[in-house]
Symmetry: C2
Subunit: 326 residues, 2 copies
């Protein structure tokens, strides 16, 4: 079959027309005749060498597809030959920059009936990214304020709509007039032109200094760093960009979450202090039933507080140091 | 009343005995006669100047208390004078290094009936930290593998037990013989002596290369960085240490969560690929009902793939670029 192939890692010129053997569907696969595919930032990252370890070139990229099912694997029940489907093919085998592609049937769905193939091919990867970010991981709720970076981009323009559908107030950033117009037309409440003003200052002003309950970062790097002070207490950040930092990349490739747990937040910010009372009451029940025990490594008098500080700063204590006051 | 006071920021010697006016309980407060208090790393951090902005010295630290209720605020219904309680006083007023302390009644509970005041004072802050990390934020589940750093420490020794109670397999790190012994006695499945071996290598070996579903970091800095590659796909990290990095500190003081969303994870790791199919099916319903629309900024032929790469790399595209294949 015909394909556009990644012949070696490099610039756009390394993508060249060529031939690949027709793919053979595995047990859970659909063999899809590609009517349209779309492009995402991961395509140029992979073209430059990302996720390249152990990969044999030449290679077809393309991680969005719409088309018609031509064959199904032996375990596939949900689809039949002739179905019009859309999906995001996995990164680990040939993608949809070709006449045929295999996709795992479990990751596919019938394409929206009212869309043509071109429109349908635009949806899968960005919809999966925005949906997982806002609904599955972030669990955004009605009434929350959500900041979406690059609202005119692939993920961003879907995310604006998903956040609005959930009843959230949507702030978004965009730079070019077309992007700003698109964000407005999709229902963003506030569109911040990051060429004209500091987005962080504007976000804090728009939220009366509180920040946003959720921030979806589709840009990474400095945009992500600058966004962190714009998070409200108990808020969350979703990033779909691995970023430059080594630590963040480790979390990203694992699809992982980092919870920064600051136990003073309920009283400092006055948000649900009752949670702490409930927790201590529940812990008391566990202690009374012998299921939870506390280890006191050292007991001192209150006047020995400086010594208690020295001990805990040394890091050489086991369990807790307690001061008897009365 | 008598108190041990932070007279200026500095070493343990700045903590000196002194007098404070008796605190007056506010609307939601309990006035607690302090029988015991305990010490946590936040005490020495605040002694050195952390959270010091806008604070008037001298100051009583101490963010764990057990004692007897001597007065209640006008809105307090859940406690009465004479109740034996335990709580973690807020960071924003005088703490429990004193004869009396005010605590928000909503954050307090009756102390476990089977503990004396010394034991009860050891519990609040570390229990709240471990509980929020593992149960409220991390939502650990039976059968998961959890790594707890510094299992012999305050938060760690409670966390080991909470993770075991939830039915998790617990790996923990410790260095001194007493700490190792404590971790073993609390039911940790694997106790790693970080003086004797590389904890990350051991964790990967113990999990057959998969990593841990959840990691609770009570150490921060390099320990946190080194832990990230030990997270299993779709896993999570909870840190109770603000850490050195500016970005992480911004998240920490906000009690915030960072989700790193890598949409390829389900197919790369073979974990629940059905979620993507369900998401695309749900998105198709939204599109068909006119609630979600896609913006195609440009349509090219497959042979124009290099140009599509140039366009998306430029960052100057709106919505999606689609390639028509058939």
């Amino acid at each position: 079959m015909k394909a556009m192939l990644l012949t070696k890692f490099g610039g756009p010129e390394v993508l060249q027309p060529g031939e690949l053997p027709e793919p053979v569907p595995g047990e859970h696969d659909l063999l899809v005749e590609v009517h349209a595919c779309s492009i995402n930032p991961v395509d140029f990252k992979m073209r430059r060498g990302a996720f390249g370890k152990g990969r044999t070139l030449p290679y077809a990229l393309g991680f969005d597809v719409s088309g018609v099912v031509r064959a199904v694997g032996v375990s596939v029940k949900a689809f039949k030959v002739g179905d019009e489907v859309y999906a995001s093919p996995t990164f680990t085998r040939h993608g949809a920059n070709a006449e045929l592609v295999c996709v795992d049937a479990r990751t596919a769905a019938l394409k929206p009936a009212n869309l043509d193939y071109v429109q349908a091919a635009a949806l899968p990867l960005v919809t999966l990214s925005a949906w997982e970010s806002l609904y599955d991981r972030g669990r955004i709720e009605a009434g929350q304020t959500v900041l979406i970076h690059a609202g005119g981009g692939g993920v961003g323009h879907i995310a604006i709509q998903l956040a609005r559908l959930r009843g959230c107030r949507v702030l978004t950033t965009a730079g070019r007039p077309e992007s700003i117009g698109l964000c407005r037309s999709l229902g963003a409440d506030v569109v911040i032109n990051y060429h004209e003003e500091d987005f962080a200052q504007r976000v804090m002003r728009e939220t009366s200094g509180r920040g946003c309950d959720a921030i979806l970062d589709c840009v990474g790097f400095e945009t992500l760093d600058k966004s962190l002070p714009c998070v409200a207490p108990n808020g969350q950040v979703m990033t779909v960009v691995g970023g430059a930092a080594g630590a963040l990349r480790e979390l990203f490739v694992r699809n992982a979450t980092l919870h920064c747990v600051f136990m003073a937040a309920p009283t400092l910010y006055g948000i649900n202090p009752e949670r702490q009372g409930r927790t201590l009451a529940a812990a008391a029940r566990l202690v009374e039933s012998g299921k939870l025990r506390v280890h006191v490594g050292r007991v001192l008098g209150l006047a020995e507080l400086p010594e208690a500080h020295r001990l805990i700063e040394s890091g050489h204590t086991t369990g807790k140091i307690v001061l008897r006051v009365k």
